[in-house]
Amino acid sequence: MKDRDDALNWFMLVLRRDLTLSFRRSATYITPLIFFLIVVTFFPLALGPSQSLLSSMASGIIWISALLSSLLAVEGIFSEDYRDGTLDQYFVSSEPVFVLIFAKVLCHWLVCGAPIILASIISSIFLYLPSGALIALIISLLLGTLFMSLLGALGAALSLGKSAILSAIIVLPFSIPTLLMGTAIMSAAINQQDYSGFLLIMGAMLAIGIPGLCLLTVEAILLNYE
């Protein structure tokens, strides 16, 4: 039987290679940050700078911008590997491919999730978010961006080589539960209620999402091979 450390070996290989590659290309983690801040700046420009109005809508605005920028960041996750043949190596190795896909998504989440959370802290200043909600924002966004990366990877695999906007349309409807959970957590935190229930639901969604979505992504990639 294949020894288990082989799968772990491959997992670390994909993770470390993608991390080095992403840090070489500084654009990968700065673009979501700037996109997030621009979207957040548009709201006060459009709705007026009044503090009370902005702080009442702050959590919604931040969550929607976080979803959109993490989706935008995940567009080209497979396109480069598909083009230069490294994606074939995943299938040649007799390791379960969805583990390697999860390694790629995890690396992408580490590289793009952190700037998005930094940007959400900055925008909580811009939008006068009530101070109690900042920790809840960070925790819910940590889970939310991971789920969005998984979902976005599936969209990217389905629209490999096709237009990028297609993957957004495919994936956005599926991110509604995450959005609702996230904003529920935020409103509970703002009214000083206990939001651990919602966190558990989000955790459950992730527990199903990680294996499920990765398996579906593998199927979606295989489509491009026949």
Binding site: A27, I30, I34, P49, I125
Partner: protein, 252 residues
């Protein structure tokens, strides 16, 4: 009189060719550094250390000696990049493209300083870190314009093509910046402006105004030094396999 004028013209044309600029920059870098440090620290020490405290805001207004010069510099760097963009589009001068690529991070840095010092200034005076005041908002938008230029340049492999694309954006930007400022001011009045704006401080007493002038001059000298420093690096990294680089830089 025209002898001086032709002297300046020749110097400008000489600056157009990278090797000559590189030699001029390398030789004059220490002088520029010394001048920049002198002016910069003189202005700041005078402004922060010795100028009298503002009767309303007390000492916190001293942040003006950092915030206003960097905001002014951020806008003039953008203007300089637009001039570089125009030159690079019309005369295809390589040095102009390099100028934009080395000035953009500096401009972004000064805009960032202006933003952060503006928000720090807001904390003691109005209690919140950020105020959607007209000047701060247009500085924030200017920061996004800088990010656009840096992002576009780093996304294109072929550097000469990247220069041309970025000069288009720079020339377009300089037209947009005044429009943005006007529309943000109009946006400010539309929404019943908060009772104060950041830097329309009342007519400043001369002993407050003079240090500010020195600070602005100091910042400009600092910028000239930083620009020639980063433009030098840009030239070497771009013309790395040219003969003159081997002779002058690698000293082979």
């Amino acid at each position: 009189m025209n002898r001086i004028w032709s002297g300046i013209k020749n110097w400008l044309i000489a600056m157009g060719s990278p090797p000559l600029f590189y030699r001029w920059a390398t030789s004059s870098l220490p002088w520029l550094a010394g001048l920049a440090f002198l002016m910069f620290s003189a202005g700041l020490i005078w402004g922060i250390g010795f100028s009298p405290a503002d009767y309303k805001q007390g000492d916190v207004y001293r942040i003006i000696y950092i915030h206003v010069p960097s905001a002014i510099l951020a806008e003039s760097i953008y203007l300089l990049m637009a001039v570089g963009g125009f030159i690079s589009m019309v005369w295809r001068a390589k040095i102009a493209g390099m100028l934009i690529n080395s000035a953009a991070p500096l401009g972004a840095g000064f805009t960032l300083v202006a933003l952060v010092t503006g928000s720090i200034w807001g904390k003691p005076t109005w209690g919140t870190w950020w105020v959607w005041d007209a000047r701060l908002t247009s500085t924030l938008i200017l920061f996004f314009l800088y990010a656009a230029i840096i992002g576009l340049h780093s996304s294109i492999e072929n550097k000469t093509k990247a220069d041309r694309a970025v000069s288009i954006l720079a020339v377009l930007g300089v037209v947009i910046v005044p429009i943005i400022k006007k529309s943000v001011d109009w946006w400010q009045t539309l929404h019943q402006p908060s009772t104060f704006t950041l830097t329309s401080s009342p007519s400043m007493a001369p002993e407050m105004y003079l240090p500010l002038l020195v600070c602005v001059l100091g910042f400009y000298c600092l910028f000239v030094f930083m620009l020639s420093n980063s433009l030098r690096g840009e030239i070497i990294s771009r013309e790395r396999d040219k003969a003159w680089v081997k002779k002058q830089f690698f000293k082979q």
